[in-house]
C-alpha cells in the first residue's frame, strides 16, 4: 500500500512511488492545509454514506450481534459469550468448517495447478485474444447457471458424464448424491468456472517477466522444464501469492452452488460454512448465533490471508 500523503501545493504531481523527498526550493506558497476539503466532501458524500451504512456500520453490528440473542422479532438481548461457547460445542459448526476446508483444498489445489499450466501454455504458444476470451467465459456466467449446467451434465441417468464413464467401462457415479463425492464434485465444478480467470491473472504476471531471462537460459542450453522450475516459478511468486490469497478467500465463501444443487446434503456432506450461517440466520432466525459464526469465519479468513502473505513473502520480488 502506498502512503504518499503529502501532495499539497499546485506543482505538477510526481508519480506515486517515485516521488523524491521534497525539499521545497521553489517560491514559498501560502499553505492551504484544508486544500480542496469542502469540494472533496461533496464528491465523497454519496460513497461515504453508502460505505458507512452498508459496510462500516453492519460490520460493527455483526460483531455486536455475535454477543447477543437476537431472533429479529424482539430487540437483541445481551448474552455475553454464550454464542461463542455454543460455537465451540456445536458439532455442525465443526462439520461445516471441515467440509469447507475440504472444498477449499480440492478447489484451490486443482484450480491453481491447472491455471498455472494453462497460463504457461498460453504464454509459450499464443497471444490469441479469442482463446483468452473463451477461457474467461465461464467466469462471467452466474454461479447459479454454472451449477445448473453441471447438475444436468452430472445427473445419474441422463448426464453426459456418466454416459462417458459407461463408454470407457466404468460404473456410474452419483456425483451430487453421494456423501463422499458431493464436495469434490462441487469443488471441481467451480474449478471449471474459475480456472480461465485465474490463468489470466497468472498470465498477466508471466508477461512481466523479461524475455531476456529466458533467452539467456536458452543459450545456456536449459530445458523447458528447468526454465519453468528455476525461472518462471520463482519470478512468479509474488503474483501467485496474491492470486492464492484472493482465490482462497473467495473459495471459503462457497454458497451459490450448494444452495442450488445439494442444499447442504446428502446428510451434512455439503453443509459449508456460508450455507450454515444462511440457515441459522434466515431459516432458524438465530441471528446472534449466525453473527458469531460470521465472526469466526472472518477471523479464520484474516488469519489465513496474513499467514499466506507471510509464507509466500508476497511483498518482495525476486526480479530485483
Amino acid at each position: 500500500m502506498r502512503t504518499s500523503t503529502e501532495r499539497q501545493s499546485g506543482t505538477a504531481e510526481p508519480r506515486p512511488g517515485t516521488s523524491p523527498p521534497q525539499s521545497d526550493t521553489s517560491a514559498p506558497r501560502p499553505r492551504r492545509r484544508a486544500g480542496d476539503l469542502p469540494v472533496a466532501m461533496v464528491f465523497l458524500l454519496p460513497a461515504a454514506v453508502g460505505f458507512a451504512v452498508f459496510y462500516l456500520w453492519p460490520a460493527l453490528r455483526t460483531a455486536y450481534l455475535s454477543f447477543t440473542d437476537y431472533s429479529l422479532l424482539a430487540p437483541p438481548e445481551w448474552a455475553g459469550l454464550d454464542n461463542y461457547r455454543r460455537l465451540l460445542g456445536d458439532r455442525l459448526f465443526w462439520n461445516a468448517l471441515k467440509v469447507t476446508v475440504e472444498y477449499v483444498v480440492v478447489n484451490i489445489g486443482v484450480q491453481t495447478i491447472a491455471a498455472l499450466g494453462l497460463a504457461v501454455l498460453m504464454h509459450r504458444l499464443t497471444r490469441s485474444g479469442l482463446i483468452r476470451g473463451v477461457l474467461l467465459l465461464p467466469y462471467l456466467v452466474a454461479n447459479v447457471v454454472v451449477a445448473l449446467i453441471w447438475y444436468t451434465m452430472l445427473d445419474a441417468q441422463l448426464g453426459i458424464v456418466n454416459q462417458a464413464l459407461e463408454w470407457i467401462g466404468l460404473d456410474p457415479v452419483a456425483f451430487f448424491g453421494e456423501t463422499s463425492t458431493a464436495i469434490p464434485t462441487i469443488a471441481l465444478v467451480n474449478v471449471w468456472r474459475h480456472v480461465g480467470y485465474t490463468a489470466l491473472l497468472i498470465f498477466a504476471g508471466l508477461q512481466a517477466i523479461p524475455k531476456t531471462v529466458y533467452e539467456a537460459a536458452a543459450t545456456d542450453g536449459a530445458s523447458e522444464a528447468r526454465m519453468f522450475w528455476r525461472i518462471t516459478l520463482p519470478l512468479l511468486r509474488p503474483v501467485l501469492a496474491l492470486v492464492l490469497v484472493l482465490t482462497v478467500i473467495g473459495s471459503f465463501q462457497i454458497f451459490d452452488t450448494v444452495a442450488v444443487t445439494t442444499k447442504g446434503g446428502p446428510i451434512n456432506a455439503t453443509r459449508v460454512i456460508y450455507y450454515y450461517i444462511y440457515e441459522q440466520a434466515f431459516q432458524r432466525f438465530n441471528f446472534g448465533y449466525a453473527a458469531a459464526v460470521c465472526v469466526a469465519l472472518f477471523a479464520i479468513l484474516a488469519g489465513l490471508a496474513l499467514l499466506q502473505l507471510k509464507l509466500l513473502r508476497a511483498g518482495d520480488s525476486d526480479l530485483d
Binding site: G50, A142, T152, V260
Partner: protein, 296 residues
C-alpha cells in the same frame, strides 16, 4: 539438428493439443446446455449420449417464455408449471441497470476526490475504504437484511439494489487508478479559465476516462446480473424475483421423478444469454481490464 527440431515441434504439437483440450472443456458444457434445451424432454432419456438434440424442437423455449399451450408443454415432457420468465428478466434488467448507473456514478465521484483533489487525510480515508474489500459479504449481509427489513423494503426493487447503490470498494479503487494517470496540465488550464470542479469532473475527467468507465460499468452490470445471495435474502417474491433466484426456485420445484431438463436448460441459457452477448461484443475490454487490475 533436424532431429532436435522435430522433437521441438512434436512438443509444441502436444502443448497445443492440451490448450485445445482446455478450450473444448470450457465450451462443451455451453454446447450441452444448448443441446438439451433444443431437445424433446420425453426422448432425452432414450439418447443421453447423442451429440445432437434429440427430436429437435423449440418447445422448451416456448414453455419457458410462456408461449406454449399446456397441451404442447405436457406433450414434450414439460411440467406445465408456469415460469414467469419475462417478469424475472425485466427484474434482472432493471435492478442491474440501476445498480450499475448509480454505483459507477457515485464511485467515480469518490474516485475523483481521491485522485484529483488535495485534502488532509485523503490517503487514510482511501485506505479505510479499501479495507472493506477484505470483509466477506455475509459479514455485512445480516445487518443489511435487518436494515432493509426495518425500512420496510423487503421484496422491493429498492431493497435489492440499496446496498450496491452508492459504492463498492472495487469500483472506487479501479476508477481512482485511471484518474491518477490523467495529466494535470489539462485540468490546470481549465482552472485558469475559471472552471469549477463540477465542470472539470463532468467535462474533462469523465469524458477522458470513458473507456475505463465503460469497462467498470460492464463488470458491475455482469456482477449484479449474476448476484444470487442478496436477492435470495430480500427478493424472493414473484413480483421482484430476479433470474438467478428464479432459476434456483425453478430447479427446487422441478419434480424428482422426470424433471423438465429441457425447460431447465432453456431457462438457464436464456438467463446466461445477455452476459454472453455482452461478452461477445465487449470481451476485449474485460480481458484487458483483468490484465490491468488483477482483481475481480
Amino acid at each position: 539438428m533436424s532431429h532436435a527440431l522435430r522433437r521441438l515441434s512434436r512438443r509444441r504439437t502436444a502443448a497445443w493439443a492440451i490448450l485445445v483440450l482446455f478450450v473444448l472443456i470450457t465450451l462443451l458444457p455451453f454446447y450441452w446446455m444448448l443441446r438439451i434445451s433444443l431437445s424433446n424432454n420425453r426422448t432425452l432419456f432414450a439418447n443421453p449420449g447423442s451429440l445432437m438434440p434429440t427430436d429437435f424442437t423449440f418447445g422448451a423455449f416456448k414453455r419457458v417464455l410462456g408461449i406454449a399451450t399446456l397441451a404442447e408443454a405436457t406433450a414434450e415432457g414439460g411440467s406445465g408449471a408456469n415460469i414467469d420468465f419475462w417478469r424475472y428478466l425485466a427484474n434482472s434488467v432493471v435492478t442491474s441497470a440501476v445498480i450499475t448507473v448509480c454505483q459507477v456514478f457515485f464511485s467515480a465521484m469518490a474516485a475523483y476526490a481521491f485522485a484529483r483533489l488535495r485534502w488532509p487525510g485523503r490517503e487514510k480515508v482511501f485506505f479505510v475504504f479499501l479495507t472493506a474489500l477484505m470483509i466477506p459479504p455475509i459479514f455485512t449481509a445480516l445487518p443489511n437484511f435487518v436494515t432493509v427489513k426495518q425500512l420496510g423494503l423487503l421484496n422491493t426493487y429498492a431493497g435489492i439494489v440499496l446496498p450496491y447503490l452508492f459504492m463498492t470498494p472495487f469500483a472506487v479503487f479501479f476508477l481512482r487508478q485511471f484518474f491518477l494517470n490523467i495529466s494535470r496540465e489539462v485540468e490546470e488550464a481549465a482552472i485558469v479559465d475559471g472552471a469549477g470542479h463540477a465542470h472539470i469532473f463532468f467535462r474533462l475527467i469523465v469524458p477522458m476516462s470513458s473507456a475505463p468507465i465503460a469497462t467498470i460499468s460492464l463488470l458491475v452490470y455482469i456482477g449484479a446480473w449474476n448476484e444470487y445471495f442478496w436477492p435470495l435474502l430480500v427478493g424472493q417474491e414473484n413480483d421482484v424475483r430476479v433470474l438467478t433466484v428464479a432459476l434456483g426456485i425453478f430447479r427446487a420445484q422441478s419434480p424428482q421423478a422426470g424433471p423438465d431438463w429441457s425447460g431447465l436448460m432453456a431457462a438457464t441459457l436464456l438467463a446466461a444469454l445477455p452476459v454472453i452477448a455482452l461478452f461477445t461484443v465487449f470481451g476485449r475490454w474485460i480481458v484487458n481490464s483483468i490484465q490491468f487490475s488483477g482483481i475481480k
